[in-house]
Amino acid sequence: MRKRSYRVAAGLAVLALLTAGCSSDNAAEDTAATEGTVAVDPQLEIFTWWSSGGEAEGLAGMESVFKANNPDTEYVNASIAGGAGVNAKAVLTSRLEANDPPDSFQAHAGMELDGYVKSGKLEDLTDLYKSEGWDTIFPADLIKTLTVDGKIYSVPVNIHRANVLWWNPATAAKAGITAAPTTLDQFFTDLEKFKKAGITGLALAGNGDWAIAHLLDYILLASLGADAYEGLFKGTTSWTGPEVAAALKNFQKALSYGNKGAGNLDWPDAGKLVTSGKAGFFIMGDWASAQWQSEGLVLGTDYTWAPAPGTVGVYQWLSDSFTLPIGAKHRNAGLAWLKVCGSKEGQDAFNPKKGSISARTDSDPSVYDDYLKAAMEMWKTDRLVGSTVHGVNGNNALMAAYNTAVGKYFSGGFKDNAGLAKDLDAAYMAGQA
């Protein structure tokens, strides 16, 4: 008797499993069908890799604007930490593949966004641009990088500058440097001065390779000039030609002034070398300023800036933008979020803390610090060039291979210039496939 009841129980268990499998499928379809018609969604799930410092504070600023406009929607921040979004992208990829997208996620403007569009993951936002009047408010050159086949796919929230030189005025004074270097030659002269004063010339962060690749990106731009630099990604400048070879020599020279043990450091660690007076110069995007301000440092006294030497008058930009994935569970909430992202109010709440300028041409300069005010002016007049490491010039495949090539070169003691040129060329090709 007991055995029989076991058997019945086991049979029932199997049945239960099978029916549970079927019924949950149906339930998912049902909710998806009904939610499309609901005007106010109960929840909004945002996916970003902003989780600390100024980035998180800026996001919180936009969050409060969203909450004020949408009091009935719960705001869920699925933020995942990781430099330049390297870990977040992995989680995002698997969610997109499983057709379980968040209601809006962060993507760099440019070729990185292009990848998502081509794989059919994003909704066309052209109508939203028209209804919000964004097609005249955002700069046309920026909208171009968000457009594929005439359709606009994301809403830019900011503009960052990648080619900025940072230093600590007290350290520079010790080495006898009074003015910011404006050319590569002056840059190297000043690095030599730091070295003579017993100070590490250039702060480097090698962990995960991308911050070194960021330096290369700048050196290529400074050595080749804006047109030839852009040509690298259009196939009109050769990666294995003499111009790049000369640029790589500059790269090698700059690295030789770097701190020992750079491979252990993330960029905020390298930044600390500069603010604490242990290293002279630092080439990093302007998010460094936001990071330092969130640490309580003061722009102008604890650290200061200049356009990176050799790239004065050139604005190497990148832009974070938000998207509307196809199949978002709370599409209306997603749209409401994008409206906040694109609004003047939202951008002016976000950007002063994030350390970036607004992507809108009509933002209010008075809420921004001195660096950002200057950056706004330069954004209007400078020659604009995209950043490679931050997604403008190449897709994810190119970026990954670019970082790998630099990581290999750097960890090998930066000796093999020819090998690096070959690897960079292969990285460019990987991005074309």
């Binding site: 086991a10 992995a90 698997s94 962990n207 290999k408």
Partner: protein, 301 residues
């Protein structure tokens, strides 16, 4: 008689129903997923935007053979495995040997040595990232500072930043974590040998060394094999330790990290699946002969 038979048969059916849920679960979530991954690895899904999926045979595998980064990661993994296996076996065995004699406070030592096992690889990776700091002399921290303080300053080195020695440095935390476990296994092996054997050997006039060499060590070979298999497959799959210490830096690339990057960052699903299958194959080479051996000995008993 027929009644008994039907009883046995029904007991078998009942038993089958009991294991059925786990059979179904394993069939789907283990073997089904392996088959699915293998299938992807044979297709042209080389980016998320590929719409028409076709089978391309072993193209992804043959391309890996000329992929410089794949070979670099494979080489790194083999270096890591070699040092990790030898280091862990030696240190675990020596600790077991010392404790085997019955030291005072043996229980205390045992738990001390076993503690590292309780820490996850990722948490350990974060701590060891600081310990393996490459700064030297005045700036030194972590192990380099310890070496300085005990007068072995000349041993300071770059640890995982050294292109040739990176993977050997990576093996250090792994050895630190697993050697206590290996010690426990060997200790259990020693304890499983009846005292009669030692006494018989002593009566026959064998020295202590000879007792170990000819009586005890040979009986440990099944333990040795078990340890080798367990460490071997842990090593082939190493991922979190590397990510915890050096992230996705090229210098410490291993297959699992490369697979992760190819799949999720570059969205080259087919190539990622091919790397995953290669890792599975390498683990299978280690594990399957062992499982067959265990099955055989169980049947013999």
């Amino acid at each position: 008689m027929p009644k008994v038979q039907s009883k046995q048969a029904s007991a078998r059916i009942g038993g089958f129903f009991f294991v059925l849920p786990s059979i179904i679960a394993i069939a789907i979530f283990v073997y089904g997923m392996i088959a699915y991954t293998f299938n992807i690895s044979l297709t042209n899904r080389n980016s998320a935007s590929v719409k028409e999926i076709e089978h391309v045979g072993f193209k992804n595998y043959t391309e890996l053979l000329s992929d410089e980064r794949f070979l670099h990661a494979l080489g790194n993994l083999l270096k890591f495995t070699g040092v990790f296996l030898v280091g862990t076996l030696l240190s675990g065995f020596i600790m077991a040997l010392l404790l085997e004699k019955g030291v005072a406070g043996e229980g205390l030592f045992r738990s001390f040595y076993l503690y590292p096992m309780a820490i996850s690889f990722i948490a350990m990776g974060t701590v060891w990232r600081w310990l393996l700091n490459s700064s030297r002399d005045a700036d030194a921290g972590g192990l380099n500072l310890v070496l300085q303080k005990i007068g072995l300053g000349f041993l300071q080195n770059d640890w995982y930043l050294s292109p040739s020695g990176a993977m050997y440095a990576m093996a250090v935390p792994a050895i630190w974590q697993m050697s206590g476990y290996v010690m426990a296994l060997f200790l259990a092996g020693f304890r499983g040998i009846p005292d009669d054997l030692r006494e018989a050997a002593r009566v026959d006039g064998a020295t202590e060394f000879k007792i170990y060499r000819h009586v005890l060590f040979p009986q440990l070979s099944p333990t040795f094999l078990t340890v080798l298999i367990i460490l071997g497959h842990i090593s082939m799959k190493v991922f979190d330790l590397i990510i915890g210490i050096s992230g996705k830096s090229y210098v410490t690339d291993v297959l699992a990290v490369y697979m992760w990057q190819v799949t999720f960052d570059i969205t080259n699903f087919a190539k990622g699946a091919a790397i995953a299958m290669i890792i599975l194959f390498m683990v299978a080479i280690v594990v399957i002969p062992y499982l067959r051996h265990v099955n055989k000995t169980e049947q013999e008993n």
